[in-house]
Symmetry: C2
Subunit: 306 residues, 2 copies
Amino acid sequence: MHVVGEGAAEGEALLKAALGAVQGEVDSCFDALLPIPGDARARLFEAMRYAAIGGGKRVRPMLLVETAALFGVGREAAIRVGCAVEAIHVYSLIHDDLPCMDDDDLRHGKPTLHRQYDDALAVLAGDSLHALAFEILADANPIPDPFIRAELVATLATASGMNGMAGGQVMDMAAESESYDLHSITRLQQLKTGALLGAAVEMGAILGRVPPEGRSHLRAYARDIGLAFQIADDLLDVEGDETLAGKALRKDEGQGKQTFVTLMGVDGARDQARALVEQAVGHLASHGDDAATLAALARYIVERDR
Amino acid sequence: MHVVGEGAAEGEALLKAALGAVQGEVDSCFDALLPIPGDARARLFEAMRYAAIGGGKRVRPMLLVETAALFGVGREAAIRVGCAVEAIHVYSLIHDDLPCMDDDDLRHGKPTLHRQYDDALAVLAGDSLHALAFEILADANPIPDPFIRAELVATLATASGMNGMAGGQVMDMAAESESYDLHSITRLQQLKTGALLGAAVEMGAILGRVPPEGRSHLRAYARDIGLAFQIADDLLDVEGDETLAGKALRKDEGQGKQTFVTLMGVDGARDQARALVEQAVGHLASHGDDAATLAALARYIVERDR
């Protein structure tokens, strides 16, 4: 990891510790949510555990937990809501990896779910994780306020559905035949990747009882890192190491897709990603040192190797 | 349709009118929820409309609307919440029809979604309808009370996920290799079909602000019709007319599956379904004539030809 900019070294140490903690807590939370039943559903639960526990970077739960921490939210509630967002992310990866979609064999350095089990179970494990996200959010434990629960559900459902992640995925599929310009690619990626990253930040603020008008700087931060995240993904697809990434790369080129890299070039894309990150960090200024981990996370997003 | 029992003729006329009305209102609601956007997501929305508008019997919205009506709930809210339940039902049919699942070509008398479009779009249209269900429930319009919204979300998410419909589907897939007894088949069907039918009734009562302890007779009604519904489905698979049903039949036999019919015989299964329906109707006694449509719906469920 090569973190750039001011305070990079402390930022990197801070982030490593914080990410490690969140990864452990998210794994524990999924472990508790998915006890293997003593009936024929055991295989479903095993498949859900295979996909949800271990392996992920947990960027979305981290964004949520760190945003919530700015407003004094208890960690247990934030981790649990973070698991709801991560459940949506994991289900989307399972479905994206299917033969009829991206047909990927490797995810987080191990066989994709449909390779390890079968396509039918991958569809149903994804669907079950999708439902689990809303089961988590609707539970009065640990979020007793129903107004907060309902707002969390609305935010996550919108970010994941036809006007968010799934809609972006359909635009992305069309990208193989249509030739998108920079404006269209930006819009596509705001839906496909940005919506769920933005929801993670927004849901942290909702847990913190921040009214919508007090969230605009956080939305701006999320928008910038969402775009930077996708540009970094496009760069990784061109320049990354498959072993480190734990998944297949060089896919965009094979599919003849327009990406930020094809439209801006490698150097232009990297400059743009870094500029977006510095802009994102600027949006956090009012929080001072409290937002140091969110700032470090923004820098990590463009410099990561997986 | 051959309705049996007391008051059958009025029941049938009542039900026909009521089902026709709900079908029209559900179609209008989906039409309003799914305006085709002016970008590359148009194909996704068209696919969602293809699956969601027209064709369905709308048994679940009907159960919800009629239960809600017992407690004076406004029709607009009940129809909207009914569309959330139906969105889950429709998404599950889309995914069940996929080549890697049941590989069906025909649904409601027209090509299944993946035959009309492609497998990838069928996965994503299903996922988008899944998210849409929770978008509907989390919306403050037309349900201003966040406590009600959160309870609706919890009920639907549980009924659709690993401890409900999706879990039952996995047990059903295993039924081809395992040989289930009547107890296991009953448990399987309570999850696969019963959970969502039960959620529809329960959600009608939630909208009507009936506390959990006041819902036990409605839960009993729902449990009985859920089982009767599945027995009728198994009978339809053996005896039905494919043209009337609008889908492929004689599938259980080909897969060597145990069903209520293989375990009880055709006559035993029919007797059991009718007994369950009369028991279900008995649970509605305290509501008198107000529950006439729910009683007629219970009878329709076992006598339907599609």
